[in-house]
């Protein structure tokens, strides 16, 4: 018995589809006889028998897709072979590895009942897959459909089922080995029975018996869908009948349905259109002028005269309105016996009127329908806060403004449209920000809108520090040292006047985290104080914040600010520069780092320093010089 594997039928395609078997099991065939019609991309190819003998098994039915290199037919006989060229005339001998292997299979048929299973394309058009794990052993008996091996493709681990029932005689490769698509994966002695291809190659299995082309894979579904009779208006009519009625400007409610369950059919709509008085009224009068038969020249004349076309009596050929008809109608009206001349309103006029009534506030982001609504309700859009994704105003925002609910102007953006939430219900109630938190929200928004923030990061090596140094005091001193060398960052910038004030004295703001919110107390004339003095003032300020006795004067007038968030967590940050200040220093948590020093590799403690500055007021050079001076001061032993 010889198994004939599907060769590449000449187009380098991965598979072909059986159109029609020309032989059946038990038939005697002669080498060269056509045995099957296979459909490729564009043509049906007749595949001739490679051997003379008796057909013992056909693989697949018309409509089934056979992968190149997979079995097509089994023939028992004397082994006389037809030349391979007869099968694949157009294939250059060296094109496709799979095709070559298929040819080899043909030339050296495997023994009876011995099956080589080749790695199929695991559904993603990938050239190969990696063995993750064998789930069978050599000698094991498997049933068609059993999982034999887990293969890993680019995206997923796919379980490859046994295509046949039988005994595994050989496994190609172990875990980690990459097997090319079309190459042998497992060999087994078959006990008959082919597994459905579905499991191994889900995509192709879906093909039904009548799928014709093999240019790609047309998905096949067996779902029977129904064109539903949409019934928003209570009328029973399918989309086609509704479409026709709309086109014919016919009101469905006047029609009687003759279809199943009283459904209005296309025929009912047509009948209704032919006999409007009996069953249905044409929709609205506005469409009348459009239904008139009138040429463009006559229409232009009527438009020019401001004539309502519904008042014209057509006398032209086949009921066409002629230019003469238009003139007659116009004269009749001027004579007063046809009613008033109704000026035709150009569409632009209508639009213009509406637009004129709409709020024209500049810089307001609102869709036209929202503007129209606001205008109708008399709401000035420039006073409404938009909660849309780009700060645009919604109808809800207009309604909120109408209610006098201007809370939206300061509250966090709320959900906008009235549709139910998509996610699980949220818990908790909205809470208005007050006091320091409200001040923070406003200051931060202003800073974000105004400052051109730029950041630089570096690390200060503090390995040389004497034991017991006060980290915060050293950092404050380093900022002061930086300001002395590069005063440009110890400054205020007034964006309205464009004036920059560079300060001689350092009034150091220090961000303090408290349960009541963010506070920035100020250490005035910091440059006149020693490390311990700076520490003492800071402790005093913190105490005042805790007991609520801090004075406003001690929380304003900072010329540069320190945010020492590293005491909690974090290494680098881009803290916000709050105008009129032009720089802020962020200090992250101390960390250890292996560095090369004179002696070799050493473990040094480092302080991460982040500097954010307002690039409108400082140059990058000024900022970097400040940072350099700060780092130099931090490196000192004490």
């Amino acid at each position: 018995m010889s198994k004939f594997l599907l060769p590449d039928l000449g187009e380098g395609l991965p598979d072909a589809e059986i159109v029609k078997w020309l032989v059946k099991e038990g038939d005697q065939i002669t080498a060269g006889d056509d045995m099957v019609e296979m459909s490729t991309a564009k043509a049906v190819v007749e595949v001739p028998a490679p051997f003379t003998g008796t057909v013992t098994k056909l693989y697949g039915q018309p409509g089934d897709v056979i992968d190149t290199g997979n079995p097509l037919i089994e023939i028992t006989g004397d082994g006389e072979e037809a030349p391979i060229e007869a099968l694949a005339e157009d294939t250059p001998a060296d094109t496709d590895e799979v095709a070559k292997e298929a040819a080899i299979e043909v030339a050296a048929p495997t023994s009876a009942g011995h099956e080589v299973f080749r790695l199929p394309d695991l559904g993603e058009g990938l050239p190969d897959a990696e063995i993750v794990q064998w789930l069978v052993q050599e000698g094991a008996e498997v049933t068609a459909g059993d999982t034999m091996v887990e293969m890993s493709t680019a995206k997923a681990v796919v379980e490859v089922p046994a295509p046949h029932s039988g005994i595994i005689t050989r496994m190609h490769g172990g875990p980690g080995d990459v097997i090319k698509t079309g190459h042998p994966l497992v060999e087994f002695a078959t006990g008959g029975g082919t597994a459905p291809k579905t499991s191994a190659v889900p995509e192709k299995s879906a093909k039904s018996a009548d799928a014709a082309t093999v240019v790609g894979a047309v998905m096949v579904g067996n779902t029977v869908e129904k064109e539903s009779a949409v019934s928003g208006d209570g009328m029973k009519a399918g989309p086609a009948a509704r479409a026709l009625a709309r086109k014919m400007k016919l009101d469905l409610s006047g029609l009687k349905g003759s279809g199943k369950d009283g459904e209005i059919t296309l025929a009912d709509v047509r009948a209704g259109a032919e006999n409007p008085s009996a069953s249905a009224a044409p929709v609205a009068a506005t469409s009348a002028p459009l239904d008139l038969k009138i040429g463009p020249a006559a229409r232009a004349l009527a438009d020019g005269l401001g004539l309502d076309l519904s008042l014209v009596t057509p006398t032209g050929a086949r009921g066409t309105v002629s230019k003469r008809d238009v003139l007659v109608a116009a004269r009749g009206m001027i004579a007063g016996n046809g009613g008033a001349v109704v000026p035709v309103v150009a569409p632009g006029t209508v639009m213009g009127t509406v637009m004129g009534a709409v709020s024209t506030a500049k810089g307001v982001k609102a869709m036209p329908k929202v503007r129209a609504y606001a205008s109708q309700k008399g709401v000035d859009l420039s006073r409404v806060k938009g909660t849309g994704p780009i700060g645009n105003i919604s109808i809800d925002d207009v309604n909120a403004a109408l209610k006098g609910d201007f809370a939206v102007t300061t509250a966090a953006p709320s959900a906008t449209y009235q549709l139910p939430p998509r996610t699980a219900l949220v818990s908790g109630e909205p809470e208005k920000l007050i006091g320091p938190r409200r001040v923070m929200a406003q200051a931060m928004s202003k800073a974000r809108d105004e400052v051109v923030k730029t950041s630089i990061f570096d690390e200060a090596d503090i390995a040389a520090w004497v034991p017991g140094s006060d980290v915060t005091a050293r950092i404050m001193r380093a900022i002061i040292a930086g300001c002395m060398i590069e005063p440009a960052v110890n400054a205020w910038y007034n964006s309205e006047t464009g004036e920059k004030t560079t300060h001689k004295s350092v009034h150091l703001g220090v961000a303090v985290d408290s349960p009541r919110g963010l506070f920035v107390p100020v250490i005035q004339e910091a440059e006149t104080k020693s490390g311990p003095e700076l520490r003492a003032v800071l402790n005093t300020r913190r105490g005042a914040i805790t007991d609520g006795s801090i004075k406003p004067a001690d929380m304003s007038g900072a010329t540069i600010t320190l945010s020492n968030f590293g005491m909690i967590a974090g290494r680098f940050a881009t803290p916000i520069v709050v105008p009129p200040e032009v720089a802020i220093i962020g200090i992250g948590g101390l960390f250890e780092k292996l560095v090369m020093d004179e002696k070799g590799i050493a473990n040094h403690r480092m302080i991460p320093v982040s500097l954010t500055f307002d690039h409108r007021a400082c140059t990058g050079g000024e900022a970097a010089r400040f940072l350099g001076a700060m780092l130099a001061d931090l490196r000192l032993p004490n």
Partner: protein, 326 residues
Amino acid sequence: MDAITLIEAVNLALASEMARDESILVFGEDVGLNGGVFRATDGLHAKFGDDRVMDTPLAEAMIAGLSVGLAAQGFKPVPEIQFMGFVFPAFNQIATAAARMRNRTRGRLSQPMTIRMPYGGGIHAPEHHSESTEALFAHIPGLKVVIPSNPTRAYGLLLAALRDPDPVLFLEPKRVYRLVKHEVEDNGEAFPLETCFIDREGDDITLVSWGAMMHETLLAATELEKDGVTVDVIDVATIAPMDMGTIFESVRKTGRLVIVQEAPRSGGIGSEIAAEVAEHEIMSLLAPIGRVAGYDTVMPYAKLEGQYMPSVERILEEARRILDFS
């Protein structure tokens, strides 16, 4: 009444109308003995013979030219262009002869022909087998361009195309050729052309699509409905000349519009719909008009096809952006 696929509905309509109208001739590459690469013309040769069902050489310019001549002489040619990507040699005959014959001869000659072409991607096909170039034809005055989205519409619209006195390009969404089945009665009832079909009715957002993308669009609508959003889903069906009235009416109701097209984004039918709505219904809009489309690149091969074509997820993302806008 059997449940049949879209391709079977095409076959049914052809067989049905050919029996009714002897002037219909079907021809093209592999349409005769083979029954067409997708089996659209399966059995027609056996039923109607060599004189009415003919295999042609691989020469699209000739196929279209033959159609122009036959149509001018009173036949109703129904040529098949095997894949829409092959139509370009025929474009000259279609655009410069078929589309303008009635105008050129002041109505003395007309071109009652229906040019069938499978279009679109999603079947892992080779190069230039997957494009959606409907906009090229929709732009030519004198051509009707019709795209069915399901078996029922394929039957009804193809009958209408076959009975139309002027050239109709009938684009068949090959990805959904066999995807779903409808019970279609062979009753010879043509559907109206130049009219949209409304598949769902709702108040919150309008989704507009045509052809194969109707499948994803309807799935997206179902997902949105699970969130309590009600959706108008419109199948444009005839993309030239287009029924904008139905779309306007829907937008007036919902204020929100998302257009889904498989073709590249720029210069497509979606752009035309967006422009028309902006021009005539801008006062009804609550949000910008959203478009979900293919990308402005050559249609990729199998591996990237899924990324290229609008997915249910992409449609949902855009619909939700539009719903959240205002």
